[in-house]
């Protein structure tokens, strides 16, 4: 029957890959940390590795090193997975921080100062179990939507910060606006994103 809805064809069902809902990534990473299941790692790799590489290049790691840096980051995803706390961050956020730190370490040959994950180890039992289906992930989707609603001049300073690693002073020079304007745009953007994002927090 030509007009049957998709999926009605039982014989083809096996070949249909279930669509991967975005909230799966956080759950999947938490599950991988617990089970050390490599097939989960493969799925996570296929989703995140191209994004990580694109990010690493934008931030300024030279193309000849981008593969190597990406590989280190993706290895850290496996090795540091026990530090991932799904109650605090979506998979994309956690992997972003790994990618940022590793890229900066590489570019500056100096560790980007950070407060270690183990400074605030999750309170054992609660966080050890797989979290209630990806609240952080829902928030992450909401953040993505919120970023798209920023006025252009605010989105611009966010992009220059996150994708080019530019300081307030560098952005001010680049856009030929006072330092104070850069900071107030960043503040406005951050406030707006927090409001849009944090309603449920």
């Amino acid at each position: 029957m030509k007009n049957s809805p998709p999926g009605d064809d039982v014989e083809n069902l096996a070949s249909l890959k279930p669509p991967r809902a975005s909230e799966d990534w956080t759950e999947m990473l938490a599950l991988m940390a617990e089970t050390r299941d490599k097939s989960l790692y493969v799925d996570l790799f296929r989703h995140f590795a191209p994004r990580v590489k694109a990010y690493v290049l934008r931030l300024g790691v030279v193309p000849s090193a981008a593969e190597e840096v990406t590989q280190e980051i993706m290895l850290a995803v496996w090795r540091k997975a026990h530090l991932f706390n799904a109650a605090k961050a979506a998979a994309s956020t956690w992997i972003f921080t790994l990618a940022r730190n590793q890229s900066i370490d590489w570019m500056r040959s100096q560790k980007y100062p950070q407060y270690e994950f183990d400074d605030q180890k999750p309170e054992t039992s609660e966080a050890a179990s797989v979290p209630s289906a990806g609240e952080a992930e829902v928030l992450s989707d909401r953040m993505a939507a919120a970023i798209k609603t920023l006025p252009e001049n605010q989105a611009q300073v966010i992009f220059m910060s996150f994708f080019e690693g530019r300081s307030h002073g560098e952005i001010a020079n680049r856009l030929d606006i006072p330092l104070g304007s850069v900071k107030s745009r960043l503040r406005l953007a951050s406030e707006k994103l927090r409001t849009l994002w944090g309603d449920a927090v």
Binding site: K53, L59, S92, T93, A99, Y115, I158, S161, E164, S167
Partner: protein, 218 residues
């Protein structure tokens, strides 16, 4: 520890973005290590990065293709034992851990250089234009009035000072920009020790300050 002065949103965004100098990032990380409120805000600014990362696809401008070679290399490495990083129990200290990695866990063991009587500094190993140092200032002493070309971040580790903006005690961070001219005065009975970073040289506002700046750098 009751913290009254926190990081500016603009600073937290840049920290999450990886856009701060090493010295400024160290002040931020050190404050975050002791301030749950700013940690929560930092989780939010990190989530901006997460959302942007997740959106980075199908952009033909960058060569983000990954072949299965990398995946196969990685799969071969997954069973290797990673170097075990069992964090040693951290001694009780008033130095936040990110800072302790550079100066040790004991403020008493820091080596100080004198600028003028009652004012000492310890330089941190970041050579990137701005200032990054520990300052130790005796009670009743003041820093010469100055403003900034860029940003100035100060984390108070011990003691306290007051300036035009209020009173800053241990744990507080003063997050200032080029609109602010201030003259901090130490008002605690013990030395005030703080971690300071700027992303551009300071601008002293008195002829004397400008005169000694080449010597003090601060």
């Amino acid at each position: 520890m009751k913290i009254n002065h926190h990081l500016d949103d603009a600073t937290l965004v840049s920290y999450s973005a990886g856009a701060l100098s090493q010295g400024m990032a160290l002040v931020v990380a050190s404050h975050l290590a002791i301030c749950p409120e700013c940690q929560r805000r930092n989780e939010q600014t990190d989530a901006i990065g997460g959302a942007l990362l997740d959106d980075l696809v199908d952009d033909s401008a960058v060569d983000d293709k990954i072949d299965d070679g990398m995946l196969n290399d990685l799969l071969a490495k997954l069973d290797e034992e990673p170097e075990v990083t069992t964090a040693a129990p951290w001694p009780k200290t008033d130095i936040p851990r990110p800072l302790a990695e550079y100066v040790g866990a004991n403020l008493e063991r820091v080596e100080w250089k004198r600028i003028v009587p009652g004012v000492y500094f310890h330089e941190l190993p970041f050579g990137n234009g701005g200032v990054s140092r520990l300052l130790r200032i005796a009670p009743g002493k003041t820093i010469l009035p100055h403003s900034h070309e860029g940003n100035e971040l100060t984390l108070i580790l011990r003691g306290s000072f007051s300036d035009e903006l209020g009173r800053f005690a241990a744990g507080d961070v003063a997050d200032l920009d080029d609109q602010v001219e201030h003259q901090p005065l130490v008002d605690s009975s013990e030395d005030c020790i703080c971690l300071v970073a700027t992303d551009a040289p300071l601008r002293f506002t008195t002829w004397f300050g400008r005169l000694v700046q080449p010597i003090t750098g601060f």
